[in-house]
Symmetry: C4
Subunit: 253 residues, 4 copies
């Protein structure tokens, strides 16, 4: 079996397309953002990527049919230089080698599809609750840094201190070896929950850069659900603890 297998459902003819990556990660910010934008723009799935670097797992869909875990690519046509390719998926590669192989493989496919500009989306975990998430950035060259600052992206010395791990980082690092211009947009997030609010912050920047208009209703309603859960948890924490309470919580944990 090949390490990575791509199955094209269609070979789209795109003109100088822009690539947007959003895979699972901290707070699932990147995945939420890319999937939301893809859905809002009614992008068309054109390729499936399977790999032995993913878990050996199938998902069972609501109709009882299975789906081998994968990454998928979808496109939307908007005219020369404005076409977009989305990469979304169930997992990132499980091992460092797998991460490198997958990012490199996908960049090669993108090269073939004519991509020269890359946006990777992710979360920046703060380990504390965030009320108004900033969007941090990193880029492959100085001109891009300037461009992003103009639309409100924060480039903050020493943040993120640990660098960017996974596909969102590698596609910049390896992308440079493929002569691609690439930007990583990271929404601040606690890292404790999936974070639609942070995903929205990231998309507000990205849509401005790409001159796209989309509705955020879906993300906002997801954000409200999460808020309801987290504020309930805060209430529990704030309540003075009694031995009985403690026992009750034991049943939850």
């Amino acid at each position: 079996m090949e390490n990575i297998l791509i199955r094209y459902l269609e070979r789209p003819k795109l003109e100088d397309p822009i690539f947007v990556e959003g895979l699972p990660g901290i707070g699932n910010v990147g995945k939420l953002a890319a999937e939301h934008m893809k859905d809002e723009l009614k992008a068309v799935k054109f390729a499936e990527i399977f790999s032995k670097y993913f878990p050996p797992q199938v998902l069972v869909q609501d109709d009882g049919q299975i789906k081998l875990v994968n990454n998928e690519m979808a496109y939307v046509k908007r005219g020369k230089g404005k076409d977009i390719i989305f990469l979304t998926g169930d997992y990132q590669g499980l091992t460092p080698e797998g991460q490198y192989e997958l990012s490199d493989f996908i960049l090669q496919e993108l090269k073939g599809l004519g991509v020269r500009r890359v946006f990777t989306l992710g979360g920046y975990g703060l380990g504390r609750m965030v009320t108004k998430p900033r969007v941090l950035g990193a880029a492959t060259d100085a001109a891009l840094v300037k461009d992003m600052e103009k639309v409100g992206v924060v480039f903050s010395r020493g943040e993120p201190g640990a660098g960017i791990v996974g596909a969102s980082g590698l596609m910049l690092g390896l992308g440079r070896l493929y002569d691609m211009e690439a930007v990583c947009l990271m929404g601040e997030t606690s890292g404790y929950f999936v974070d639609p609010k942070s995903a929205q912050a990231v998309l507000e920047v990205l849509t401005k850069v790409l001159d796209v208009e989309i509705s955020f209703t879906e993300l906002e309603s997801k954000a409200k659900q999460i808020d309801a859960i987290t504020s309930k948890l805060r209430d529990i924490e704030a309540t003075p603890e009694t031995p009985e309470k403690r026992e009750d919580l034991g049943y939850i944990g």
Copy 2:
């Protein structure tokens, strides 16, 4: 050394055979089921599969002779479209890569043997005792889902939530890439013990589908042994705990 090595003891001529997989997993449900059916039908071993994705281990048999851990294939002839190939074994692949390689390798061999229909057997761990295990299903297409529902297989939205991990899942996911129709049958099980009762539930469905008759005496007697152990454990748990008891249990744990 090749990653995977198959040794054919015989090259059986089979007519449109059906494949049944049962390897170790949750509650060993799949393994128990496939081995029981294979034994009852007096299937003939025809191939051994060795691999560096298995543990580096030999088992010592009762006569002092060793056996390198492996997977085995056996066949039973029942006439065109009714022949069955069983896959049983000591282990599944240890790593995700190994899982993918092994499932893909075996599917290729099966393709060569003319297999187009696949049944994978496994357990669905509930984390609590189960008195009457249901059999959950997942399949590669909608028609199969319908067929299975007719014989009592449960397709339940959101179950199994984590999908199907390992060979029982992969052989469906990859099987589809080989144009094979595949069904996974999962017997509910606590996951705490090997579970012959759950294996029987799975086989009651499978034998109906394949129009096979077999005795379940062996599985039933195994189930009684397990029941005897688990009810003893329940008794111990139900006894009001005293400090002395606690100490005693300490010696067991």
Copy 3:
């Protein structure tokens, strides 16, 4: 870099040689036994095996010179059918794949050297102190089992329950694929300490089988050292515990 690298210092001409393996493992029984016998018979090192399946490590010798961790082969000439090749070393392969690759690689080399009989030496961990270690066996065929029983090797149903893991097992399991007759001799050991007494028990059997005479003085003196340490520890354990004692032991642990 090749996965495994063998460097021949000499290409010995051996007549139908017997192979003896003793690598690190439980109680280091196999390693102690093989190294002792090799030293007593003044076997000549003729090959070094390096591999990326070993730890990335050099050892520093007493003269300040380094040695890349390896496995080594040595031979002793005793006449047709009596020549012996020893395999000893610093480590076994770190991963399952590495274990398979190394055992297979070495068996291929041995095939080239004319080996048809293999003895692998190891320990059988009991998890309790052993005063008079038995030597358990496992073999590739029934005739060998009989031969070994004649010299006192114990073939005990269900022992070792977990089979034989690592090179001592694989060289039997894979050896059979190379048409080699192979026996594993396992000395009982607590598994808590290196165990020269168990190594001696193994060698008493092996030397009888191979019709070799060697001194055991070295192993006996090592065994005395270990006994001195373990009986001291037993004394400490036997002493009634007081809070002060407990504190003292804290400094040791």
Copy 4:
């Protein structure tokens, strides 16, 4: 993607150059030492090494631009037999296989660059504070051991007991297979902090051997910062503990 990728920015013509390795490790002694010496000698970066054996990570620099984690080589020209090549970097290989592959790959490149003498720099962790770090050594041959003893390197029987793990060890062990003379210099260090003082001790030896003069001001000032932190921690530990103190520390930990 290739496992290891080297990008030459320049192909320097060097005469019988000496190689100095300093990658991250215990107390970061080797990395600190090699980077300091490289900076002091204004060595010129000429090659970047990327690999899937490194973490899948980019670092974000102060200007917002990213850098794919790598190892780098730099050279300084000092005349025949005195030219130096430095290897520094963000990481060592993550797996044993990666470690072997990377060291072997780099040694091959060095062979092509004409290197015959190798110095690897590292720390020797003692697990306790060290006031005046000794420099321990290990070498590929007896003459080198003597040469190093003359400049104060300590070759101490049984130290380091666990051998040398990682690139500093492998480049000696594999270097010998490439007919390179190699020495490892290890500065004693607690292993609890990055240790510029230990790095300086190592460099004092190395600069003497290579007849180089450099300033240590930078390292000394780094050492003072570390000393300030560690002596503060010692003060806290020495202060008699009260329940309130304990709580306060809880907030720090």
